[in-house]
Amino acid sequence: MTYRVRGSLKTATFVAAAALLLAPLATFAQTNSTSTADRWIHVRVTSTDSKGETVKVNVPVDMAEKILPAINNDRLHEGKVRIDNDNLNGIDVRAILDAVRTAKDGEFVTVQAPDADVRVAKQGGYLLIHVTDKSEHHHDKTAKAENGKKTEMINVSGQHVEVKVPMKVVDALFSGEKDELNILAALRALSTSGDTELVSVKSDDNTVRVWIDSKNVSD
């Protein structure tokens, strides 16, 4: 074997070894970028009326991440929404979330009232909120005349709302200033989460689902 061939072989071996060593890093980087790029948020609204109206929206998470900072309108600036403290009725949401974050898994709030049942819990790194709205707003009233008197029959038709949000997304959402929600940070946190059904609303006339997965179609 000549000196030149031996030198070439040595170089080739060195390059192959370097490639083998760097391959996992490259794969990791690729997997990381793919995992963000392939995440899709799906929204589906299905109406139960005779027409059967259906709305399907599919948005890639990374697209939302790029578009959101470009929107500067009304309360939304640089991916952050300014919230009005008056709407919070003096409730320190941050303090509550901090308490929830540091607490162990369990049920934190259970409210059973005539107009709504509310359940807030933390389970397996997720914040779970279940609300059953039984308020007057969702009741179907039918007037009936009986013995000259008008009576009102109320058919209770509740609305069930289920919200399941990874705690890291909640953390990211409240990572900005006190009076703002950091939507962009929440989206970034969401893009690294697994497949999750985020919101589910079921009422008599509509079903709403919001979920995240790696498919670019909602079916």
């Binding site: 790029a37 259906t54 399907k56 890639p60 697209m63 578009i67 900072p69 670019n216 179609v217």
Partner: protein
């Protein structure tokens, strides 16, 4: 004779290049069909390459008006277009309400909007790169962008 052949070659070559450029840039399609008596049928196919060129002939005051109106949303359009180019074909919005269907999707580097209603159909397809070119040209005139 040789001069004529040279001119013919030049013309043919220019036409071939122009055709290639047009096909590469794609076409903007607008199809409107009203399926009833007296209903109109509009089919417009415009080479997308023409649009950025045509913008150079738009009067300055008109373009400034468009620029003022679109200024706030141009960064959003640009971000959307850049992101759309990075994604494979996908259906972004689908609405179905009885006889009405609305689809917004990307297909082969074009954004397509298809609306089907009872007795009426509207289909619009535009290359994503054309939207980017137009946004760039309008944005380039704005001192704030």
């Amino acid at each position: 004779m040789i001069l004529l052949a040279k001119i013919a070659l030049g013309v043919t070559g220019t036409m071939a290049l122009a055709t290639m450029y047009t096909f590469r840039e794609g076409t903007i399609r607008v199809d409107v069909d009203e399926h009833h008596a007296g209903g109109s049928h509009v089919h417009v196919w415009v080479p997308a390459a023409v649009v950025p060129m045509a913008l150079h002939f738009v009067p300055d005051d008109k373009l400034r008006q468009a620029e003022n109106r679109a200024e706030e949303w141009l960064p959003v359009v640009r971000a959307t277009v850049l992101s759309l180019k990075d994604h494979p074909d996908a259906e972004f919005v689908e609405v179905q309400d009885g006889e009405q269907h609305v689809h917004v999707q990307t297909q082969g580097g074009r954004i397509r909007v298809d609306v089907t209603d009872e007795g009426e159909e509207v289909h619009v397809a535009c290359p994503i790169s054309t939207i980017e070119d137009v946004a760039d040209q309008i944005g380039a005139r704005s001192p704030h962008i």
